[in-house]
């Protein structure tokens, strides 16, 4: 495949699409599909066939506001319909070109206005199983142009210039990582895409892999060229069967088009990608554990250094980046490093995709420029807390992150600001809690998670999280004392400082951040044997109330 052939495909797709007067895009992502998007699409296809209008019905990836699903977007006029069911199909097709169906029309201007879409630019516009759709939206253009016009060093330089930082949570500068691997000695190098989205409450990577798989593959191929690798692996959770099948299809299509394989674009560059399945272990998101898992062993981390950049898969230099990081590569190559550098805040560039969930009106995927205030995300994009409840905290970074209270909401989102607040950027889960959530209980939930997910290799994490869980359980059921609290705090710092890998080092974060901002709730549990949110059931209450609770 050469750049001319690529342009020809794009032209053909455009011509093909021009035959239709209207496009009806149906979101078929997991959330919409579970609300009947499959039947809706079939009904729309049927209605389009019987209609005189020339209508193209297209299946797409996640459009964003999942709580409004199933979603349908009409082109060219960009009307968005929400809560659409199969019965409305005929009315939708009938009204094309006229005024939109009023009862289905969705007004989410505020939701979309504040967003900037880079990673999700194709979400809702392409059929994830059609490579031609991706090519028509400038897909693979960056890869082919770069192979002909740029040196590997030039590519690394452009990524460095963009200021992109790892989107897996740590925020390590991507350009620096790439140049380390590029400089490492060795004929054989590997590129690994970390799609083990173990963070409960986050689904950005799933949406990208399912909705726009070629973007990830293109990013990996560019990385392969830059660091001198000819083999890549995508490590995906087994819990995401759709992502696995979409990626398999995408890889097959890319090979068929000569965009993967030997002598890509008639250059000496060879690159191919293999899929590796995870099997449900949170710790495998840690890079050394992920390497062990790809090699077919138990996913236990190793002490670093040596870093994977020097000695990774089978002892070879290995570049590991997250799905979202790779998804950012192609746009940076296309638009230049400066373009990306100009977005975002001072030390965190570009955009970030968040999975907005929990007690919030518009749940779903959002992509915002770095530096945006948390309050804007929650109140304007998210539509605030529904049901007349009061906002209490937002949890970012999953089990490794922390809870941020209302008074900190005016801080701009960036790696450093979140770290300063006792949380982390994480992979992008953002879970909103209202006054019906008990913060002690939430901390206990996360510690339980870390306890069961601890691989058991190092003692601080294995034993420490178990002891923290016991102490938190005691506080939750009303038998905790102030000594327990002191012990808990002591244990937090021990686990944080002495654990081997990121899982253990960050496990105390949910406890520390809730202790910092919601200490009064802990005190209420300990001193007055009362749970302010009414979540925890106390053992030490008098018999009359306990009978009531049981009944």
């Amino acid at each position: 495949m050469t750049i001319e052939e690529l342009e020809l495909i794009a032209k053909n797709v455009k011509q093909e699409n021009d035959k239709y007067d209207y496009e009806v895009n149906v979101c078929m992502d997991l959330a919409c599909a579970s609300q009947g998007a499959g039947a809706l699409k079939d009904a729309l296809v049927k209605a389009a066939e019987t209609s005189e209008k020339k209508v193209l019905v297209r299946r797409t990836g996640c459009m964003g506001p999942c709580s409004h699903g199933p979603l349908v977007r009409l082109d060219p006029d960009e009307t968005l319909y929400h809560h659409v069911h199969a019965e409305s199909a005929e009315a939708i097709v009938k009204n094309l070109g006229e005024a939109p169906v009023p009862e289905l029309q969705c007004d989410l201007n505020e939701h979309f206005d504040k967003q900037v879409r880079v990673v999700l630019e194709n979400a809702g516009y392409i059929d994830p199983e059609k490579i031609d759709d991706y090519i028509a939206r400038d897909g693979y253009k960056a890869l082919l142009t770069m192979l002909v016009e740029m040196t590997p060093n030039g590519v690394v330089h452009r990524i460095t210039e963009s200021g992109l930082r790892g989107r897996g949570g740590g925020g390590y500068p991507t350009g620096l990582k790439w140049s380390t691997v590029a400089k490492a000695n060795g004929d054989v190098k590997y590129v690994v895409c970390n799609g083990d989205e173990g963070d409960p409450g986050a689904f950005m990577d799933r949406s990208v892999m399912e909705g726009d798989p070629h973007r990830v593959i293109e990013g990996m191929a560019i990385a392969g060229y830059a660091v001198g690798a000819s083999k890549g692996f995508i490590y995906v959770r087994a819990e995401y069967p759709v992502a696995v099948s979409r990626l398999t299809t995408a890889l097959r299509e890319a090979r068929r088009h000569g965009l993967l394989g030997n002598n890509i674009a008639n250059t000496p560059f060879n690159f191919d990608v293999e899929i590796r399945l995870g099997a449900g272990a949170f710790v495998c998101g840690e890079e050394t554990a992920l390497i062990a898992s790809i090699e077919g062993r138990r996913g236990t981390p190793k002490p670093r250094p040596p870093y994977p950049a020097a000695s990774g898969l089978w002892g070879k230099p290995t570049l590991i980046n997250n799905v979202e990081t790779f998804a950012n590569i192609a746009p940076i190559m296309r638009n230049g490093g400066k373009w990306f550098f100009n977005m975002g805040s001072e030390r965190s560039k570009g955009t970030k995709v968040f999975a907005l969930t929990g007690k919030i009106a518009n749940t779903g995927l959002v992509e915002v420029p770095m530096g945006i205030k948390l309050r804007e995300i929650i109140e304007e994009i998210g539509g605030g807390v529904p049901g007349g409840h009061k906002f209490k905290a937002v949890q970012t970074g999953g089990p490794s992150g922390g809870c941020i209270p209302e008074e900190m909401l005016d801080v701009g989102v960036s790696y450093d600001a979140l770290l300063k607040m006792g949380s982390i950027m994480g992979s992008g889960g953002m879970i909103v809690m209202d006054d019906t959530s008990c913060m002690v209980n939430v901390a206990r939930y996360f510690i339980e998670f870390c306890m069961t997910e601890s691989c058991g290799k190092c003692i601080p994490c294995r034993a420490g999280t178990a002891q923290m869980f016991t102490l938190l359980t005691r506080i939750c059921n009303g038998t905790g004392t102030l000594d327990d609290l002191a012990l808990l705090e002591d244990l937090c710092s021990t686990v944080k400082e002495t654990s081997l890998c990121g899982l253990g080092q960050t496990a105390p974060n949910p406890v520390l951040s809730t202790l910092k901002y919601f200490r009064d709730e802990y005190m209420e549990h300990i001193l007055h044997k009362r749970c302010p949110a009414g979540v925890c059931q106390m053992e030490a209450v008098n018999s009359a109330t306990s009978i009531e609770v049981m009944a």
Binding site: C66, P200, G201, A279, G280, A281, G296, R297, C455
Partner: protein, 143 residues
């Protein structure tokens, strides 16, 4: 195994194939996989027990998997699990004595925007209520 060229590194892929064909891994199948791929039995058993996705118990005829991810937990997944446990008289991770229903929990299936979520025989059902879970269980019980 042939697809992966009997490579040792394909141990996890092979175990996935075995589990999706038979529903679970038993001693015999682990022994067989270990022998064919020439990996130590200890490693094969270690991998099979390390990862949560692999199960060594045969599943029931129907499986309800309640998502216990953070978003689902905040929206009351624990109450769904408790209700199902009470109705079936088993704890999570177990199967009823007649082999009809298995009650499982998952660490996030990625449908957080529709929390709380449950998988009924693999199909995602969003915004589950306690009554919906019980209704589904009743239907399976009478079967």
């Amino acid at each position: 195994m042939r697809k992966n060229g009997f490579a040792r590194r394909a141990l996890i892929e092979t175990l996935h194939t075995v589990q999706s064909s038979f529903g679970y891994l038993d001693d015999d199948s682990i022994r067989f996989v270990a022998m064919s791929l020439r990996v130590p039995l200890s490693q094969a058993y270690g991998v099979a027990t390390f990862y949560h996705y692999f199960t060594m118990k045969p599943p029931g005829k129907h499986t309800v998997t309640v998502c216990a991810g953070t978003a689902c937990y905040i929206k009351g997944a624990d109450k769904l699990i408790a209700a199902a446990e009470k109705r079936l008289g088993i704890a999570q991770g177990q199967t009823t004595a007649d082999g009809q229903i298995s009650l499982m929990t998952a660490r996030c299936v990625g449908a957080c925007s529709r929390a709380p979520v449950a998988l009924c025989d693999g199909e995602v059902v969003g915004e589950m209520t306690r009554d919906q879970v019980l209704e589904q269980l009743e239907r399976w019980i009478v079967e």
